[in-house]
């Protein structure tokens, strides 16, 4: 392919942007790897084994449960004649909007010893104390795994459902004509063909699980993320926190590699998805079981928690809450608007560079800038601290040397660090959306402006950017929403006394006072619904 433009400053700035995005994590990794073996030995002898074990166990259970929920629901929706299919089809996506820590809090509230369920049971059966009966304890590792799986399984549902729906129906027809029933064809053809999509979505769930902080913290399950947080905020030990973050980062890298490998398998799909498919006809009993399964996921993952939140909001909302909500909301808005705008500008610049520049390795800046999504927020926060902290010290030294008063921690102690971290983390989302928008522009449109005597700037402003407007809006919105929801990075990096919606809700949850923030929590869920609506609509169009 021929690329058109040759500007050196564009090339330089593209590489610098990519480098800036990746440097903090590199600095942290270098710090982590070169930390004294003594430190690692100490960690290994004390807390590390149990943290690692918890992290891996949690990941294992979440993935297992999410696969069970996601693959079965996708199969039921696409392959059978389940009733209310059209409604369940999108309802099953909604749990994705529900942060796991909210579900965790609400269900703890519901099922705790002092909660309404156990109170009702005691009243009903006349039990007096916990010794009179057995009741499951939700604040455990399996409990945390269930909470996470309940809100993460839609990743698997969505991608697997997509894989099933995109499958060439002629493959199923061929299987039928070769003597296999609809059910046999599902297991021998449809399911094996969906394997790459299932693997990709499972690794997404795995990444989200490794990155989770608030749920496990609330359940007091000590994983690597909680360890990083405690080591830094509790003991102020940057070295140890860095080392833990590096270990977590390595775990994530393994998952990323596995994910890339499975993506390579996502080839053969999508030829004739619109042919009518013959559905597996469920018997009455099967229909009942399938319906209970799907509705339980929708209710437990979304409808019940949102109802509980609404009840809380109605019971406890007052003016004081509203004013807190307003101030934290404005803070969230500020941070998210900055992050979304910067991420979109970077994505545009690198995406168009990839498309139009002459550089032989023009895809590299974009590739590098996208990796941040895999980095858990806690790790990213440590990376910012270990990079921006020394930078601040150096800056202060320079300023004092010139003869001014030192400005303080202007990078690591300000919104700069928060926004920077959010941009690194969510650049991949903006990149992906804008790159796919760019891909849809026909190649000939790159050449047409030049053939009409229009230069690069004219071509960008009159052709590429106007065509990309919808993609730009979607990318901005997606990053904006993710930034609104992001918790651990904000929690570790926010300036003193600076609360965002999510950090405020987390504080309230830690203090067992979510009632005070129910409105804010509902707001976060509503924001979370936006990308789902967007995703669902764009899927329908394909």
């Amino acid at each position: 392919m021929i690329a058109l433009y040759n500007s050196r400053s564009w090339k330089l700035s593209s590489y610098i942007i990519a480098l800036v995005l990746i440097v903090p994590v590199l600095v942290m990794l270098v710090g982590g790897v070169s930390a004294s073996t003594q430190l690692y030995a100490h960690l290994w002898q004390t807390v590390l084994p149990s943290y690692l074990e918890n992290t891996l166990l949690l990941a294992f259970w979440v993935v297992l449960l999410a696969l069970f929920f996601g693959v079965f629901s996708a199969a039921i929706i696409t392959q059978t004649n389940i009733v209310f299919k059209q409604q369940l089809r999108w309802l099953l996506l909604l749990p994705l909007a529900m942060p796991a820590y909210l579900v965790a809090y609400l269900y703890t509230d519901l099922f705790d010893y002092a909660g309404p369920v156990q109170r009702a049971l005691r009243a009903w059966f006349g039990w007096q104390s916990p010794t009179d009966y057995w009741f499951f304890d939700i604040r455990t590792l399996p409990g945390a795994a269930l909470m996470l799986a309940l809100v993460l399984f839609p990743y698997i549902y969505m991608l697997t459902r997509g894989a099933f729906e995109q499958q060439d129906q002629n493959l199923i027809r061929a299987s039928r004509l070769l003597g296999l029933t609809a059910k046999q064809s599902f297991f021998k053809v449809a399911l094996p063909l969906a394997r790459p999509a299932i693997a990709v979505s499972a690794s997404l769930v795995l990444m989200e699980t490794l990155a989770d902080f608030a749920t496990v913290q609330y359940f007091s399950v000590n994983t690597l993320t909680t360890a990083i947080y405690d080591t830094w905020l509790g003991y102020g030990d940057l070295g140890a926190a860095n080392a833990l973050a590096s270990i977590l980062m390595l775990l994530v890298l393994f998952v990323v590699l596995a994910e890339q490998r499975s993506r390579a398998g996502l080839r053969h799909q999508s030829a004739r998805p619109n042919l009518t498919r013959e559905l597996i006809q469920l018997s009455f009993g099967q229909q009942f079981i399938a319906s209970v399964f799907c509705w339980a996921l929708v209710i437990l993952g979304f409808l019940l928690p949102i109802t509980l939140l609404i009840i809380m909001a109605v019971q406890y909302s007052d003016v004081a809450q509203l004013s807190v909500l307003l101030s934290t909301g404005i803070n969230s808005l500020k941070v998210s608007v900055f992050a979304a705008t910067i991420a979109v500008i970077i994505a545009l610049s690198l995406g168009l560079y990839q498309r139009l520049h002459n550089d032989k390795f023009r895809q590299i800046p974009q590739l590098i800038s996208g990796f941040g999504y895999a980095v858990p927020g806690t790790v990213l926060a440590m990376a910012m601290l270990s990079t921006l902290g020394p930078l601040d010290h150096w800056l202060n030294g320079v300023v004092e040397f010139i003869g001014f008063t030192a400005p303080g921690l202007i990078l690591s102690g300000s919104l700069f660090a928060v926004v920077f971290a959010l941009v690194v983390r969510f650049s991949a989302i903006a990149n992906g959306t804008i790159a796919s928008g760019i891909k849809q522009i026909p190649r000939s449109l790159d050449y047409a402006p030049a053939s009409l005597g229009v230069n690069l700037i004219g071509s960008l402003t009159k052709v590429h950017l106007p065509i990309l407007t919808p993609a730009i809006l979607v990318a901005w919105l997606l990053v904006f929403v993710e930034a609104m929801k992001e918790l651990p990075a904000v929690l570790l990096l926010r300036p003193f006394n600076f609360e965002t919606l999510s950090s405020q809700i987390y504080q309230l949850i830690s203090d067992e006072m979510l009632e005070q923030g129910a409105l804010g929590a509902i707001l976060i869920v509503l924001f979370g619904l936006l990308p789902i609506v967007l995703l669902n609509n764009s899927k329908e169009k394909v």
Partner: protein, 375 residues
């Protein structure tokens, strides 16, 4: 409406496939309308028609993927689908029909090797029998060296061989081929068609193959069926269909010649290319009709003089292997009756003519074929 079958012979006892009054309505659109068809064992039928005429739906109805709104499908004496005619809805599921299919894009399983693809429909056989059958087909289709390859590693022609081997493996009673050659490079196509035809004959396979290219029918099929708007217009040996098309649509779809509007009277015919006698012709329909003019039946008299009065002019010129190809239109002055004017009469000649040149053309005497446009 009745189907326009020229071979209206009673259904023979050896018919392998019988379709009776098949109608299919999809989303309130009539896709097939009271279609009758029967096919003898071992015959290869080429089914042609414009896209959207119902060819693929007919294949789907035979395979069991489309349920008839009305009608019957019978293979080898076994009723596979019926609806409406003397009884309720009945349908044998696709996997029990013993009908094989080769899809346009082959629909090979990308997650299985060549060998596993061929073995897919042999689940009911024992291990030894399976291996023997697979080995036989691999050899027959020259696929032995690719037995453990995955589909994406094969060329288009090789993929098609796998599709054929897979479809033949369970020994179906009837094989359906849905535009099987459309993805094959034009230069290889003919060779491959001849080879596969020989293979099917060797297996004594009854087959229906769908195409929109009539030339493929001549190479591949024993019989030709022309479909339009959900109806079967004609079914016969390919040469008979071409020599004696039974309707305007058949002749027009197969592009057997160009159309000359004529005024047919009881004894003679009047056209802008002159009057001629049809006393011997059996058809005595009178009024406006269209004469099918094959290019070979046109006589060009380029020398325009008193005997040869100019009656057409050149509108389009191209060069072909068969000499110059011209489209002629009628001269404005001659056409008192506008309905007799023509604009696209096809003529091949070695004589070079110039654009808008006026020429005198006449029609050689032959078995004239007249058609009504809307019959």
């Amino acid at each position: 409406m009745t189907a326009l079958l020229t071979t209206q012979s009673p259904i023979k006892p050896i018919a392998l496939l019988t379709i009776e009054q098949l109608s299919i309505t999809l989303q309130e659109k009539v896709v097939l309308s009271t279609l009758d068809l029967s096919l003898d064992e071992g015959d290869i039928l080429g089914l042609v028609g414009a896209s959207g005429c119902g060819k693929t739906t007919l294949l789907n109805a035979i395979a069991g993927f489309s349920k008839p709104t009305k009608g019957k499908v019978i293979i080898d004496g076994h009723l596979l689908s019926s609806n409406g005619l003397s009884g309720g809805e009945y349908s044998v599921p696709a996997e029990q029909r013993q009908v094989g299919m080769i899809f346009q894009d082959y629909a090979l399983f990308p997650h299985l090797t060549v060998k596993e693809n061929i073995a897919f429909g042999l689940g009911k056989l024992g291990r030894a029998e399976q291996l023997e059958q697979i080995g036989h087909l691999l050899t027959l289709l020259k696929l032995n060296e690719y037995r453990d390859s995955y589909i994406h590693q094969l060329s288009g022609g090789q993929q098609q061989r796998v599709a054929i081997a897979r479809a033949l493996a369970p020994k179906p009673k009837l094989l359906l081929l849905d535009e099987p050659f459309s993805n094959i490079d034009a230069r290889l196509r003919n060779e491959l068609m001849v080879e596969i035809r020989q293979l099917l004959k060797q297996f004594k396979m009854t087959a229906i193959f769908v195409t929109h290219n009539k030339d493929e029918v001549f190479t591949f099929a024993d019989k030709m069926a022309v479909m339009a708007q959900g109806k079967l217009l004609q079914l016969d040996a390919p040469n008979i269909v071409c020599q004696q098309p039974n309707s305007y649509q058949v002749a027009d779809f197969l592009q057997l010649g160009s159309w000359l509007p004529c005024q047919v009277n009881s004894a003679n015919v009047h056209s802008l290319l002159g009057d001629f006698d049809i006393a011997n012709s059996g058809d005595k329909q009178t009024g406006l009709a269209y004469l099918l003019v094959k290019p070979s039946k046109l006589q060009l008299n380029s020398l325009v003089d008193k005997q040869n009065i100019a009656n057409a002019q050149v509108e389009y010129i191209s060069v072909t292997e068969q000499g110059y190809h011209y489209y002629l239109s009628s001269l404005d002055g001659l056409a008192k009756d506008k309905s007799l004017a023509f604009s696209k009469l096809s003529l091949y000649s070695d004589i070079a003519l110039s654009f808008k040149q006026k020429v005198a053309v006449s029609i050689k005497p032959h078995d004239f074929l007249f058609f009504n446009k809307n019959n």
